[in-house]
Subunit: 457 residues, 2 copies
């Protein structure tokens, strides 16, 4: 007899057929008929769950037949051909041992619960089919990201979470302190001897490592204290921020496209059962959308070209009129990806006044070499830019925007000490997972979401 | 002509010999002789750096020959046999283009700088040989950790960083707030509607996922506001916390041993040049130590046995007398690993009063099924335990220690809803990197360390 996980059972089904195995996991559903019982069994290692069948010849039949949904059990039995589906493993039990029962009022009964209800019992929801699928995709996608970069010589960098920088402007950050609340004290008395907050990005520190290792990426949490309750904003989320030396904006777009296709292909390959479930759950189209992306041509247009396309879409086509020099709206992104290009679109060369200070200033004096990637169904998925590596241009822009060159002297100095053309992008990990799973609320792709007035578990 | 990284150059050296290539990177050292110049070139993708040779027939010879250490350059040239070492690539340059020069007072001159000096210019230190080695090992070790778990069916979980739990007791955590400092306000007015802090562990949330996916791991930052300035404590550090269902303490030790050997073997295999350098830098013995660990027998003794061994070491052997029922000191750990067992040691079954509330209570009524792994040269590297899955024992212990069962009802409920024997461990990532690199100060294995009164960059 061998101990196996349901993953091993699925992978070695042919080999194990007729053999006695031992499984440990939980009861998702339990149906009893006269002298026979059926258990939908899962251990979470595999989305495809075996059925366990027992009859009244097993030991403790009376006890076993009263086991509740949610109970933890050890099952010893023989792998037999399944009646319903040859790819679904079935186990004829010889012995079922109770590891821990579950009460009759166990909150997860075998019926469809609303995501709103499941959010309230977030510590139990990973046991449901939906969240087994979502969090497996999340884990597989995370590994795909590491694999992509490590296989291509990128260095993984842990940039700091607690920071005294205030590069993106105050107001949207969480203060980190050990000073007692409500007591007036000088920041110099605080733990770090100065005012500190939680980082909204690791990009600037990432650049310092790109200037040493050529290719680096970050993958860690970031924080934003934005008081907005939407489906797409969380206060704590994970970001991926690669930074590449000797790389201009055109090469950056090549990398972004290659990277995203790699992740999508990996998830399609490694999570077929999860995606099939999520496809049905979301009303269809998910797998088709992902397959299309993996083979898509990613269009590339400048911001100006994009506005022209939008303006040519026809009078009254949009609620918000598309304007040169201004940001695009959700409806514009939708039109570009879903109706005009029928696929992903890079929009580059954005008006400088709506983009960050560190972006490369184009010769027209009006635009910067920033680039957003829009994908059908989700809008913006990545944002990046070629960075301004010319020290005079950078410091002039910092002066214009009132950003302290003293506090950021190390960042400026990168341009004095062997600076070079370099570029990078950022991708919100949860946005990616929403895209990959067709889950519509960011609260449902994070184990324990943090949003305004919500910090449970 | 093809663009290659120094990593590709090393890996494809035989194939590229005699061919023209293009490299982009930086000058680490620049020596000039009459009509000829030698550049120690690096791009950070490979620890083994090529030498670039040029003579006065190249374009802009005058300019090239004045290039400073630190400058970014593009080199076009032919791969030729090296005079000093056939495994060191050498490139005879046809063209050297300046991407960005560096001033004469560039802080990193080709000499040995103290780590204390380099800490002050932490944004430049990744360019030095020492930190190229350390941060490459860090990146490779991180990937090895992901690979180990993902290949064995573990789910990667991102547990929350901002938390309202206070499981390990107040005082050592950072407060997270958006309330203005110095103003008395009720926690209900704060961003999350309650008092929140930065998490010191993800274990408890990790357990909720182990009860759904059987095998999970976390790998993320944790925070401790301990006001101690030592070589081994940082306020922000990364932790790995696996949690395994249907796993007792004996099986947990098997996993810990297998896991650590896998990481050490991977780093030995993937970073031979880096380790050779670190071995010399640290005075020797590093590679030998790591190889020994990869093949070691990990001893297993109970805390009581360990104390007996220590007490038998001889009168006056230790500054602190080893006592049953008490914690061990650094000198005790050193004796056990380096003198008595000559290898790694698991110490299990610790006195319950010096361990956490969630550990499984042994039948003796005095000890809990906690286990620490000690390794030669570093002391404790991992700490874990079988968790208390019996609800009455757990809640009685929480009552004894004054831990709120109301705030932690979800954690307690895991024992009501299909609970089972389960175990997990935690490993501080920086401790591991110090062990793998023989670097003695935690500040030198973190890109931008955060310690009391220090939060730079």
């Amino acid at each position: 007899m061998q101990m196996v996980t349901t993953l091993e059972l699925k992978e070695r089904l042919e080999e194990l057929r007729g053999q006695e195995i031992c499984l440990q996991g939980w009861i998702r559903n339990h149906r009893r008929q006269k002298n026979i019982g059926f258990i939908d069994f899962y251990d979470g290692t595999c989305f495809k769950n075996p059925q366990v069948v027992y009859d009244n010849t097993i030991a403790d039949y009376e006890t076993v037949s009263t086991l509740h949904v949610g109970a933890a059990v050890t099952v010893v039995g023989t792998v037999v051909p399944s009646y319903k589906d040859p790819t679904t493993p079935e186990v004829q039990a010889r012995l079922i041992t109770i590891e821990g029962d579950s009460p009759e009022d166990y909150p997860l009964q075998p019926k469809r619960h609303s995501v709103e209800f499941l959010r309230k019992i977030a510590y139990l929801r990973p046991r449901t089919r939906l969240f087994q699928a979502v969090f497996r995709v999340r884990s597989v996608a995370a590994m795909a990201i590491h694999t992509y970069f490590q296989d291509r010589g990128y260095l993984y960098v842990h940039t700091p979470l607690i920071t005294a920088n205030d590069a993106e402007g105050a107001g949207n950050t969480f203060t980190v302190t050990t000073l007692p609340q409500g007591v007036k004290a000088d920041p110099s008395e605080d733990f770090f001897g100065k005012a500190t907050s939680l980082a909204v990005t690791g990009q600037l520190e990432g650049e310092t490592f790109a200037m040493a290792f050529s290719r680096i990426y970050t993958f860690g949490p970031t924080f934003r204290a934005e008081n907005s309750n939407t489906k797409t904003h969380a206060s704590e989320y994970w970001m991926i921020e690669p930074e590449i030396a000797f790389c201009d904006i055109a090469k950056l777009m090549d990398i972004e496209e290659d990277f995203l296709k790699f992740i999508v292909r990996t998830v399609l390959e490694k999570c077929p059962d999860e995606l099939e479930f999520l496809d049905k759950f979301s009303g269809g189209g998910l797998v088709e959308k992902l397959k299309a992306l993996a083979d898509a041509h990613f269009a590339r247009v400048s911001h100006e070209e994009a506005i022209t396309i939008l303006r040519n879409a026809g009078e009254g086509r949009f609620e918000f009129e598309p304007k040169y020099g201004e940001d695009t709206a959700k409806e514009h992104e939708k039109y570009l990806t879903e109706e005009y290009f029928h696929g992903p679109v890079f929009i580059y060369d954005w008006p400088k006044d709506i983009k960050a200070f560190y972006m490369y200033q184009n010769e027209d004096g009006k635009t910067v070499a920033g680039v957003d990637l829009l994908v059908p169904g989700s809008g913006e998925l990545m944002g990046g830019s070629q960075r301004e590596h010319r020290i005079e241009r950078l410091t002039r822009r910092m002066d214009e925007l009132g950003i302290s060159k003293e506090q950021m002297d190390w960042y400026v100095n990168l341009r004095r000490f062997g600076g070079c053309v370099h570029s990078g992008f950022g991708m919100g990990f949860e946005r990616l997972i929403m895209y990959l799973t067709a889950v519509e609320n960011i609260r449902d792709v994070i184990p324990y979401p943090r949003t305004p007035k919500e910090c449970e578990f």
